[in-house]
Amino acid sequence: MSRPSGSRARRRRTPLPLLVLGCLGIVLFILPFLGLLSRTPWGRLPALLAGDVVTDALRLSFLTSIAATAISLLLGVPLAWLLARVEFPGRAVLRGVVTLPLVLPPVVGGAALLFALGRRGLLGGALESATGLLLPFSVWGVIIANTFVAMPFLVITVEGALRAMDSRYEDAASTLGAGPWTTVRRVALPMIGPSLKAGLVLTWARAFGEFGATITFAGNLQSRTQTLPLAVFVALESDRDTAVAISLVMVAVSLLVLLTLRERWWRVP
């Protein structure tokens, strides 16, 4: 929509309290980053970033966060569908359980995973004897920990979108001859597309930044389970400069991803 040109254009004035509070909010967000930038050892930065601690952690973080997002997509969308469209007893409870990882401290999530899938856990022992796969202290452990904390974002977003969507479009599709799966594929999912994309970005971001569940469940070993957040944590203990450098990498990567996924991806119909 174009505004009339010239100084006669009518603009809505922002109420002063809103402006003040909004600016305070801006400060709250920007200040920590300024703090980070003020401690950055700019001269040593290239050397620090080239070190294998950083490159291993970077590679691992990307690998696990993307894998976690993919698994979240594969399992989360059907789960969201069940919660939004299928009536079954205990649905409200299930929805609550799915939301839990959003509320619980991630370490609690990690501990729970350990109790379930650890070597002495509920299924872990059986899993190990059957497949030889040991989840804690492995990359898969990191992926599972990340998925556990991040998938709820996708489920909640997609469920909300499915509920908001007019399900009569699916009725129309079925009268035109589309079976249930075709309807989901060609009508429902495309129609919630923007929400789905926004959900995926949130999910990825959460997985990328995950710390507590990862360190508790998967452990901490360079190049195997030490993701960027863990590397920062460890570096803080001994080498602050490396910690700052890694933090900077995380901020830069996250910013890059969030900015390149342009604003239109956040639009919900």
Binding site: A172, T175, L176, A178
Partner: protein, 364 residues
């Protein structure tokens, strides 16, 4: 596509207090209108016929194929019925352009892209939608969207066409224009067609048979004239009571064949449908004073009491249904055979352009 018609006996319970129980038949090549007030159960019936709502009792048969028969455990899901539905708010897929919307039906039935596209283009051409293929539904006008919805339903080659309040969402100008288009295409469709509406003019003009649906039941079936002349319920009477007269307009005058009526619109020309509400007609014992009124002498041929109202039918050649209060009727001492003068103001006569050539007869 089969040449068979629709035979349906439908019982669906919607709530504690409301159930739809209906029996109807629509032969191939005919258009039946289901006319009723809001809440009568029209959408329920559409859903049941389309397969979106299973019936609780009864049977739906289309072209000899049973679609729904709870007693025998037969239920054909909507995607396997060939019922083309044009929804009241069109429900065009917002994420697909016009062409893909129309292709949706054929492609869902297994057609390849090329074949579906060529079929779609036939209908695009037929409905005057050229140039709109790559537009999104959000960029279409009401009339265009309506035609796309129709094309989409027709493109899948259905055995039955259901149109749910097709003109309700349109403004008056588009409505007239589109009614013509839709009627044309309906007439060309070889299978049975059902039109659901609450607008009696629509039903009258587009269908050859009308079923009146009230409170989940069909209260009257018949041709438009039968309903008009012999309404059996107050609702039907209200509908029928809107007098419909066909004629030819020219320069503010309409020749109905039996009378020459003055109307307010001086610009309209050609075949028209006039509507006059029963309570807009005045009765006088003698010729009324004043000019510029449509007035003529006639007798009362039928006299009916409906509570505090009295419904009168005047004699041919221009029978009119008139409504007066019981008091007025008593004052004027009206009874069958009474000679009276009737008059109606030009401004009280509603005028709609009508493209049908044939006169209203019992059968079309």
């Amino acid at each position: 596509m089969t040449s068979g018609g629709l035979r349906a006996a439908v019982v669906v319970r919607r709530s504690e207090s409301f159930a739809v129980g209906v029996e109807l038949e629509v032969s191939a090549g005919t258009t039946v209108a289901l006319l009723g007030p809001n809440g009568a159960g029209k959408s329920t019936l559409v859903s049941a016929l389309a397969g979106l709502l299973p019936i609780e009792a009864g049977r739906i048969e289309l072209g000899g194929v049973v679609l729904d028969d709870p007693q025998r455990g037969v239920f054909v899901p909507p995607e396997r019925r060939r019922v083309g539905v044009v929804f009241q708010d069109y429900l065009l897929f917002p994420h697909l352009n016009v062409l893909d919307n129309i292709c949706f039906g054929p492609r869902s039935h297994g057609a390849r892209r090329a074949e579906a596209t060529s079929r779609a283009e036939t209908w695009i051409h037929s409905l005057g939608l050229e140039g709109l293929e790559s537009r999104r539904p959000g960029d279409l006008s009401g009339g265009q969207a309506q035609r796309v919805a129709l094309a989409r339903a027709l493109a899948m080659d259905p055995d039955l066409l259901l149109l749910d309040e097709p003109l309700a969402a349109l403004d008056v100008t588009s409505r007239t224009h589109l009614r013509r288009t839709i009627t044309e295409h309906l007439d060309r469709f070889p299978g049975p067609r059902m039109l659901i509406t609450h607008d009696p003019a629509e039903a009258f003009l587009m269908a050859s048979e009308i079923h009146i649906l009230e409170g989940g039941r069909i209260t009257q079936t018949g041709t438009p004239d039968e309903i008009r002349l012999r309404p059996r319920t107050p609702y039907a009477a209200d509908l029928a009571g809107a007098n419909f007269i066909r004629g030819t307009a020219e320069g503010g005058l309409v020749d109905t064949g039996t009378a020459l009526l003055r109307i307010a619109d001086e610009k309209v020309r050609g075949p028209v449908l006039l509507t006059i509400r029963p309570n807009a007609i005045t009765i006088f014992p003698d010729r009324p004073e004043g000019s510029q009124r449509n007035a003529w002498e006639t007798t009362i041929s039928r006299f009916e009491r409906l509570g505090s109202r009295v419904r009168l039918l005047t004699a041919p050649p221009t029978p009119l249904t008139i409504e007066v209060t019981a008091d007025a009727a008593r004052e004027l001492r009206l009874h069958p055979g009474s000679p009276v003068w009737v008059s109606v103001k030009a401004t009280e006569i509603g005028v709609q352009e009508d493209e049908r050539e044939s006169n209203s007869q019992s059968d079309r």
